[in-house]
Symmetry: C2
Subunit: 301 residues, 2 copies
Amino acid sequence: MSLLVTGSIGIDTVRTPHGTSTDCLGGSSIYFSMAASFFAPVRLVGVIGDDCPFDLAKVFEGRDVDLTGLEVRTGSRTFRWAGTYHGSMNERTTDKLELNVLAEAPPKVPDVYRDSEFVFLANTAPALQLQLLEQVDKPVFVAADTMNCWIENELDDLKKLLTKINCLIINDDEARQLAGRTNLVKAAKTILQMGPGTVIVKKGEHGSLLADREGNEFVLPAFPAEQVTDPTGAGDSFAGGLMGHLAQTGQTDFDCLKTAVAYGTIVASFTIADFSLEALTAAARSDIDQRLELFRTLTRF
Amino acid sequence: MSLLVTGSIGIDTVRTPHGTSTDCLGGSSIYFSMAASFFAPVRLVGVIGDDCPFDLAKVFEGRDVDLTGLEVRTGSRTFRWAGTYHGSMNERTTDKLELNVLAEAPPKVPDVYRDSEFVFLANTAPALQLQLLEQVDKPVFVAADTMNCWIENELDDLKKLLTKINCLIINDDEARQLAGRTNLVKAAKTILQMGPGTVIVKKGEHGSLLADREGNEFVLPAFPAEQVTDPTGAGDSFAGGLMGHLAQTGQTDFDCLKTAVAYGTIVASFTIADFSLEALTAAARSDIDQRLELFRTLTRF
């Protein structure tokens, strides 16, 4: 089934204890699309300036990623981010943030995307996520990400968004902040009462938690990766693998969501093995399926 | 099969965001013995002063815990610890530490315990762990715990201990410190090269990692507990459930170790639901098995 993603496209400079990657391709919609493209055709909505050095048609060559929704805005500059990961890479500091074109009017969802069935609204202002969502006619399953600054400053919009989506995918700290509860299981339940039928809490190297309003729960560790070079894009790759599996199967029951979370975990484990999209693009679908089977063995008792 | 534990017995005062428990029974050998007693007969080696207000025969009444190795030392004072857990209870500060009888000569392993097959050496000075282990004739499977102060100050003794045991059970931060590596999977592999055939890394609310020298790995999240009142004793309860299952089955192959880690996780999830031994002693073996089955469902995809 059709899978739409709205999110950022950026030029990233990333420093980790393993090295530095200067002016590489990044952004939530990029990681999401690359991850999801292993599973289902992807429709991308995003905007870049005319300074962007990347040919996205070439980046996604051979993959079913529709770039009709990519706007190259003349006279604008592409979003730029620079960050440094420290120690065991659970902490990062932002060295530079230039919103550039992301601070201007948002891109439009093309009319040919209006019939999209699966939708992922990557992290941005919730009012903007709502506006993008309104341009899709009858989505079957909508998931969204958010972050601390919207919880702090745009809570009313965020709460409205939560009543319009099926699934919130959120970091552990932000889940605690949004719910006002320290216990993650309780925090997930509180968020479910705010609207979405499903919530997925990302705990980085500690795995994830899935819960729905029917009382189903699922907990999964991260894949025990030995090679963690750059965690950038792990969360959006996770969402891409997850939504890609749902769109591929066309199902959203709890068993399917569990497998989707496992696929998201595995796809993210490829992303973090190298800088930018290097390791993810080098993987084949068979590598992903093989690692998923290994993961089953590694977690089953 | 026979299961021996050597460790502390203490009078604890614990403060958590959920309340305070003053002068309650604690100590590694106590939590371990209670946890393991659901699975196999336990032989306890520990020492208290004549000031100890607890009747351990009564505490373990109806359970197969042999107290032949309990020494009540006249004129000595029992170990005391007071601590406070903060926020989401991942951090704790020590408010008071009185080693008392633990700073004197160690208890002796009774001759009738010399034939013990499974042995758990709870955290103490590694030289003391070695000395206790020498009093067991031909153990089948020996596991030990350790902590940061021994890694920092008694590394030679600890390294010697590691060549004499089958399994090290260690916290994540301490595994990183001992191995000198931030990646936990790599840290586990480094520790395996130091001697033990198996290493189990405890990550608290984030679950655990099991690895052996044959290259087998197993990762498990924690049980998604909603009620966390007091984490004291979680690690020793984990070890108790784990070693109890091994002693009950008499097996130590990797499949059995995986199930043992799962049992340890479940037993610990009972311990943390209330102060001291309250919730653990209130559980029945059938409650533990029922929660283990639920945990299988919660983690299987």
